[in-house]
């Protein structure tokens, strides 16, 4: 039972930077020019070739051992190397150094609906997609009815997939994938599809799969799902293993890491989503009840102001803030692009953006803020976990906000009508 399923030794994966990578040339002509220039340079022995060694190590010196039957969660920032690791393990791309030994048939689910062809019918796509994911025809036949039932598409089985609603095709894709029976299953954040009831159903299915003694590696940003499905969690950071152990302690160290990243100078962080624009960057985010109040401590049901300090004021700046609970589950997004008559643009404001919340609808606990900054009609900057704040128990519209034992994360003003 405890024979190893995946054994990773000193694994590294390197990507060349630049538009197409490799030679910094993306058309044949540039490549030929480049080659001939290099040859010339070599011939006259004038210095080293012009090739620039600019690499990004997506993974480096990775050592992980996973026993068969383990259900392991893989967490980390954007760009920590999680997806790259799954790609190496599923043989889509080769490692640049080290090795990984994989014992058993691998099924990977890096994106739902891979290989769906819009012109083919649901039935045809089930067979195509199934075999792409590594199922044998006999297996697909055996589980065909189950797949169709799970996806809830009986009536549309012989309709081309291009006429499906997006919900339908996603359901079908997940259904095929969920009925895979590999010994090792690699899953990359695919549960966030479909409507709420289908998400629940998929989660139950994943749980069932995890309990069947298969080895599962599971990448997700949703720590609640990770916590529910996995026994062990590996935390990646900059392509290296930062923590590896029981769910609770690893998630804790991940959260601590997130917080220390948020408390440090945000401008130092490299895990940004600005796609290189970054004419203006997020410097600091603070949450307070009012001007002069304690930073980063607010009370439920009271007003709160989120202040985003930026480096530069640009034309047409917009800002999007997402409040996420301590398990990584997003609760709400506030987006200045969806405007209200009461929004103002203020010349005197300086390099900052303020978002005022009339009555903070949050239960006591610790929350984080993800931010996306736009300006000059580009996404300028983006940071996950840019700031953390604590919410203290309060009163919402005259009614105390439940402190513990309540389900959910939100408190809203409401009134009851009860029989006397």
């Amino acid at each position: 039972m405890s024979s190893s399923a995946i054994d990773i030794h000193g694994l590294g994966k390197r990507y060349a930077l630049g538009l197409h990578g490799g030679y910094g040339s993306d058309t044949l002509r540039e490549r030929i020019q480049h080659l001939s220039r290099n040859a010339l340079r070599k011939a006259v022995r004038r210095g080293p070739p012009a090739r620039q060694e600019r690499f990004l190590w997506a993974l480096r010196d990775l050592d992980i051992k996973i026993d068969s039957g383990d259900v392991v969660g893989l967490i980390g920032h954007n760009g920590a190397g999680k997806s790259t690791l799954l790609k190496v393990l599923s043989r889509i791309t080769e490692p640049s150094e080290g090795y990984a030994e994989v014992t058993g048939r691998v099924g990977s689910l890096l994106e739902v609906g891979t290989g769906f062809h819009p012109e083919l019918t649901g039935r045809e796509n089930i067979f195509l997609n199934g075999s792409i994911l590594g199922m044998r025809r006999t297996e697909i036949n055996a589980r065909f009815d189950e797949i169709v039932e799970f996806a809830e598409i009986e009536r549309f089985l012989d309709t081309p997939v291009k006429r499906y609603s997006s919900g339908m095709s996603v359901r079908l894709a997940f259904a095929v994938a969920a009925h895979l029976e590999p010994e090792i299953l690699l899953v990359d954040e695919v549960l966030a599809v479909g409507d709420a009831s289908f998400q629940r159903k998929s989660l139950a299915k994943m749980n069932e799969v995890a309990r069947q003694g298969r080895t599962v590696i599971f990448v997700s940003h949703n720590l609640a799902i990770i916590q529910a499905l996995c026994e062990r969690v590996v935390l990646l950071e900059h392509g290296k293993v930062m923590a590896d152990g029981p769910v609770r302690s690893t998630i804790d160290s991940y959260l601590r890491q997130l917080e220390s990243a948020a408390s440090a100078d945000l401008l130092q962080r490299t895990d940004r989503e600005g796609r290189g624009w970054e004419e203006s960057m997020v410097k600091r985010i603070e949450v307070r009840e009012r001007e002069g109040g304690t930073a980063d401590v607010v009370v439920g049901g009271r007003p709160a102001t989120i202040v985003v300090h930026v480096t530069e004021v640009l034309p047409a700046m917009e800002c999007q803030l997402t409040i996420v609970d301590s398990l990584g589950h997003p609760l709400m997004t506030m987006d200045s692009e969806i405007s209200s008559e009461r929004d103002v643009r203020d010349d005197e404001l300086g390099p900052r953006i303020e978002c005022e919340i009339g009555a903070l609808p949050l239960l006591p606990g610790r929350y984080r803020i993800d931010v996306l900054l736009k300006g000059n009609s580009h996404i300028q900057d983006g940071l996950q976990a840019a700031s953390f704040f604590d919410v203290e128990a309060g009163v919402m519209d005259g009614r105390p906000i439940p402190v513990s034992g309540a389900e959910g994360n939100l408190a809203v003003a409401h009134t009851w009508r009860l029989p006397s």
Binding site: T27, R29, I92
Partner: protein, 308 residues
Amino acid sequence: MRELGVASAGPIPILPKPMQTETAQPPAAIAPTMTSETIRLQPTSGFSRVLSPHELWRYRELALQIAVRDITVRYRQTALGAAWAVLQPVGFMIVFTLFFGHLAGVASDGLPYALFSLSGLVPWTYFATVLLLSAESLVNNSALVSKVYFPRIFVPAGVVAAGLVDLGISLVILLVVVFVSGFVPSAAILFLPLLVAMAMLTALGVGAALAAVNVRYRDVRYVIPFAIQMWLFATPVAYPSSLIGEPWRTVSALNPMVGVVEGFRWATLGTGDAPLAMIGVSALSACVLFVAGLAYFDRVERGFADFV
């Protein structure tokens, strides 16, 4: 999803009861015995994947599925469907007959020019179509290539195999025309499978190599239609190779399509001398192109997912 909210320690009541009663099948179907081999993933060099028959065999069902997909998709939502397989060579035949046959008076080895050109156009159309499609195949399937592992050669190979259906249809039409025109194929018709195989090897070798280059340099897509035109004129489709004197006629068969087209004419019409020398040279040349193309494909295959 209210179950997700509780931030307290301990297991989260995230999961409802299992949706389906687990009566249908016990989870015993994993069958670890046959597949539990250990694969070592590490940086590789040289020939490792494509030319590993073991690997190809493991994924044989996928190869079939890809070919079936290519065939199915080809004429879906087209008004004329499989008739296109016939219209193309017949259309070219009419044009060629008009311009080369009548206006230019190109020789046709004593055969009716229409029949002469059709018998060359049938294999040529197959070759040109699958060459073009297979060169584009990896880029067109980039979603697949960057998300799943399988021997990538199946993508261009699927195209080459799928084209056989069209070839079959147009071949039947050709034979009907041959009979109607009063010709009877001789036993030479038994050469057809060999000739088709030569066209396939050439298309796959060249197509796979071009597909691999196309992943890195999209210039290829502009070069190919042009190159195929050139190749058509280097092949005796519109003119007989007898216009070329020996020994150059045999040397020209280094272009594998020379042997294929001349062979097709001889095998279906049952006239003229057996162009065995040309077929031999072309067969050899086809094999060389095939091996070289696959070797190149194999060498660059490992990088596809990083570039496509």
